[in-house]
Every structure is written in C-alpha cells, then in structure tokens.
C-alpha cells in the first residue's frame, strides 16, 4: 500500500525550508522522512509526515505550491548489499525509480527507504513477492 508524500516547490532563497518546517511544526505535525532535490534556481522538498492531509492544507494556506504523491516505504535489510539487491530487483522488473531517499529513524535494525516509482502498485507486488516488508500508511505515520 502506497504512502502519501508531500512535495513543496521552493525557490532557492534563504529561510524557505525553515518556513515550511515551522509551519507544519506549529500544527503539531511530525516529519518522518525528507529529501531536497534542487537545481540552480529552485528546489523540491519532499516530506513524509504523520498527517499528510493536514500538512497539505497548512502549506497551501501558507501560500506554497504543494502536491500529494504516492510513494512506497520499503524496509531495507540490514546487511551489505541490502539496498543494491532491491535496486537490482526493480531494475530487472523494469520498474523505473524516479528518486529515492532514506528515513530519518531506523526501524529496529533495518533501514527504511522511500521510493518514488511510476506505478507503486506493481512495485509493491513485486517487492512483497520477494519477501520484502512494505510499510503501510498507518505504520509509517505512527513510527
């Protein structure tokens, strides 16, 4: 089951990242994972939070350009080559990875990573068939 990610458009100027995190923090929303992709002119902040719909509303009201995207949260086995195996698996199955990033906190021994792929449902089916743990929304938001 996919997880909701918040994406926020940011110009590359001072303080915007702080503005976003403060805005959601003020509403008691916690960040579970994040990444920033940027170019010379602009950036995209991606967030996994415990209350994505609320975060979406808050940021929109603050005047940010925001979108909700389906991503998958996959448990990466804590052993050498754990991530590489998953990437190979997806590559061989023809699942295109748009981008990925890691969770801030570890779940038990294993790491948790976010994957943005074209078709989350197919990717989830593939990974689960190989015995990998996919985190549900509930699980991720309650980490």
């Amino acid at each position: 089951m996919p997880v909701k990610q918040i994406s926020v458009f940011l110009e590359n100027k001072c303080g915007r990242l702080a503005d976003v995190t403060r805005a959601i923090g003020n509403h008691g929303i916690n960040i579970r994972a994040f990444s920033i992709a940027d170019t010379a002119d602009f950036g995209i902040l991606r967030l996994i939070v415990n209350r994505p719909e609320d975060a979406y509303d808050v940021l929109r009201k603050e005047g940010f350009t925001v979108s909700l995207t389906d991503v998958i949260a996959v448990q990466i086995p804590d052993r050498p080559g754990g991530l590489a195996d998953i990437l190979t698996l997806m590559q061989e199955a023809g699942v295109n990875i748009e981008y990925m990033y890691a969770f801030v906190e570890k779940v038990s021994q294993d790491a948790l990573a976010v994957f943005r792929v074209e078709n989350p449902k197919i990717a989830i089916k593939l990974l689960e068939e190989k015995g990998l743990k996919i985190f549900s929304e509930e699980e991720v938001y309650n980490l």
């Binding site: 110009e11 992709a37 995209i44």
Partner: protein
C-alpha cells in the same frame, strides 16, 4: 453553409478591389485637401498636392493622423462637410480631458449599416434572427452600430442596451433571442448570472454572437461558446474610423476580415513609421475610403496586429488582420524586436491551463538587452520530480522564443512572489536606462 451579406463586395477579386481602393483613395485625398485645412497644411508641408496620390504605393507619402490631432481640433475641426450635412454625432469617452467627437453624414450611416450587416451575417444573423443587442446605446458607437446593421438585414432587434442583467436573461429566454451582441466580459457575466438563476443555455435559442470593444482572449471565447451555446466571433472597430464593423471574424475563426472597400489597412513599425510586410506584427493604420463627414488619412489606431498572409477558406477576399496582441502603449522593444506582454501571457495561458501570474523583467547587460520571465508555479503544473519542472521551464522558454523570435530566460518562482496591486499584477519591470 457560407452566407455572405454582400457577396459581390465581400468576394470581389483582389485586382478589382485594388482598383476600387485607388479610385476611392484619390477621392478621399482630394476631399480632405480641399475641405479640411488641417490636411491641406499637412500635405502642403510635404510638398504634396491632391494629384500626387494615385496608387496604393503613394500612400506612404501621406502624413499620419493621431488621436491627438482629433483632440487638437475638438470638436469639429477635422470635419469635411458642413454641419448641416451631419446627421449623427458620437463621442468616445476620453479617459483624460476632452472626448473625441465623430460625425456621420447620411451616406456614412449607410456604409456603417452595410459593414455591420456583413459582420452580423458572419455570425449567422439573417432576416429571421432575433438580435439581442446588449451594447450600450448612446454616445458610444457600439449600440447603434449593431442596431442599424441588424435593421439593414431585416432581423428583429431587441435594443436592450447594458445593465439589468436578470431582466436581460428573462428577455433572451421569453423573446427567443438567437444572436447576442455585447462585450466579451458582459457575455461571461450573463453566463454567470444565468447559472445563478438556474437557467441553462438549452433554455435559450442563442446561435451566434459578436463580441468586441474589449480585448478578447481565446480562453474567453471558449468559455462564452461553451456556457452560452453559441458561435462567438470577434468584432473590431473604433469610433474614429466608423465604430464597430471595421473588421470581423468569419466562421473560420482565424483572423478578422477588414472591409477593404471602405477601410484601407497598413501595418507599420510604431517606432519608425515604416510599413511592414504581411505576417509581421505592428501598429494598424487605417485610411477611410468612403467616409464623408470625418475622413481620416493614415489614422494610427495604436492597436497591434498583423496582416495575415494567404486566402481565407470562407471565400471572402478582403485581407485578414490577426487577433490583437496589444496596444502600442504596452510595447517593449528588446534587441530591436517588438514584444508585447500579451504574447507571453498567451503562451503561459496555454501551458498553465489557468490564469498565469508572471513578471517580465528587461535588463541591459553591456550592450545587450536581456529578457527574463518569472512564472509562478501553480498546482496545475507542479510535479514532485525535478525533471518535470525542468521540462516545464524548457517548454515555456521554447514556446516564448518561438513566438517572439528572441532568446529568453525563464525562472520558476513560488506563488505570491509577484506583487499584485489592486487585483491586477504589474507585468513588466524595465530596468534599462533608455
């Protein structure tokens, strides 16, 4: 089905049309030379007599007429007939100072009714039509212009004029209006009020309409057509020349036929005054060919368009001017190229699918002008992948460059970055020290 009002004139072979224009141009020049002291002096200053203008090529020898010339000669200084011959006066609302006064002889009104009949026929009006004319009646030329054209056709006119929108909708419904004429913004307002009243376009019998006197974007056209269920055509005119009916779209909806047997059109570079070839944007300049009371020579409309090359599939032979891209007052000259904010806006509208917020910044680096366009990223176009936004940036850049023919830098910015003042944003910042 193609239907003309006056097939002989509207579809006249170009060579015949040209001969007619030259004959009428000679008459007009002679008339203003002998009847209007302002023009006699202007021609004499150039060493020209009435016989020096014989062909269309001689037109460039003639001086321009501007709106200021009309103001300076307020109210009747440019009239070419005694007031006893004038049967109607109209005036354009001057935003500053005195209005511009225009007069018509009986024959002028006849010509006006003729060109308006042609225009109304374009949008499907016939003797059977019920024409709902919501242009203002009065000093403004819109209301009476449509009115006389509609009567010329023999249609039934409802001279409803502006205002009382709910009553207008009731009238449209009860009287069975088939043709609507008003400004495009009023058409959209009618649609809005109709929806509030729970009246659907299917409750009305509207089939066609002429919408003008205001800038009219393609998006507005789509909305008017969809919400009112009619074919919406653009109509152009200005009171100095005659009023509405100078040019009109045909059902092909690709440019406005300018009635060249009465109005001689040129496109000039507004900076240099040089004539520009078809296909190049510039200022529309019109010489009246049949006006009696107020003939005007090379009148600078300050409206920016181009002559569209090529023939129209509708069969009318009169040249077409493109949809207007702006006023000379809005024009920017960047690296020698004329740029209008509306050209950029149209590209953004197409890509953004919503009202774009943008800012045009012109700077001079060394000897070179640089054009930068800031575009606020709306949710319609925002994607979570960098590639998507880079693609958007590139698409905007390429399409603007294609339209303008000069290079441009595009910058995506956050919403509300661009200052809004009283609902309307400031579109251009020119930082060049010219």
């Amino acid at each position: 089905m193609t239907l003309y009002w006056n097939e002989k004139c509207e579809c006249m072979p170009r060579s015949e049309l040209r001969a007619l224009q030259e004959e009428r141009l000679r008459n007009t020049v002679s008339r203003v030379y002998y009847e209007v002291p302002f023009y006699r002096r202007a021609l004499q200053e150039r060493g020209l007599g009435p016989n020096d203008i014989q062909t269309l090529e001689d037109l460039v020898k003639l001086p321009f007429t501007t709106k200021n010339d009309l103001r300076d000669n307020y109210p009747y200084g440019l009239f070419a007939v005694p007031l006893s011959e004038v049967v109607r006066l109209h005036a354009s609302s001057g935003t500053t100072g005195k209005p511009t006064v225009v007069g018509y002889t009986r024959q002028d009104l006849d010509v006006w009714a003729e060109v308006m009949a042609r225009a109304l026929t374009c949008c499907g009006a016939t003797k059977q039509s019920m024409i709902h004319n919501a242009y203002g009646y009065g000093l403004f030329t819109g209301g009476l212009g449509v009115h006389y054209g509609a009567e010329r056709i023999g249609a039934s006119v409802i001279p409803v004029s502006g205002g009382h929108t709910k009553r207008q909708i009731m009238i449209m419904k009860d009287f069975g209006s088939t043709i609507l004429t008003c400004t495009p913004s009023y058409a959209l307002y009618l649609a809005e009020v109709m929806e509030e009243m729970g009246i659907s376009k299917d409750d009305l019998k509207l089939k066609g309409g002429l919408f003008g006197a205001e800038p009219f974007s393609l998006k507005m056209r789509d909305q008017i057509e969809r919400r009112l269920g009619l074919m919406a055509l653009d109509i152009y005119g200005l009171s100095e020349i005659i009023g509405p009916g100078v040019a009109v779209e045909c059902p092909v909806k690709d440019g406005l036929h300018i009635w060249e047997d009465h109005f001689l059109a040129e496109i000039i570079d507004p900076e240099t005054g040089e004539q520009l070839p078809p296909g190049t944007y510039g200022e529309l300049v019109i010489t009246t060919l049949t006006k009696q009371a107020l003939p005007l020579i090379r009148y600078r409309t300050r409206d920016i368009t181009m002559i569209q090359p090529g023939d129209c599939p509708c069969g009318r032979t009169h040249q077409k001017i493109a949809r207007f891209v702006g006023r000379t007052d809005d024009m920017l000259v960047i690296r020698g190229v004329n740029v209008f904010p509306s050209q950029i806006e149209e590209v953004l509208l197409r890509i953004n699918q919503t009202e774009p917020h943008y800012l045009i910044i012109v700077e001079r680096r060394g000897q070179l002008d640089e054009l930068e366009v800031w575009v606020e990223v709306s949710e319609h176009v925002f994607t979570d992948a960098v590639r998507g936004l880079e693609h958007l940036e590139g698409q905007i850049r390429r399409e603007i460059e294609e339209v303008l023919g000069i290079s441009v830098k595009v910058k995506l910015v956050e919403p509300k970055t661009i200052e809004r003042s009283e609902g309307k944003a400031k579109r251009v910042i020119d930082r060049r020290q010219l």
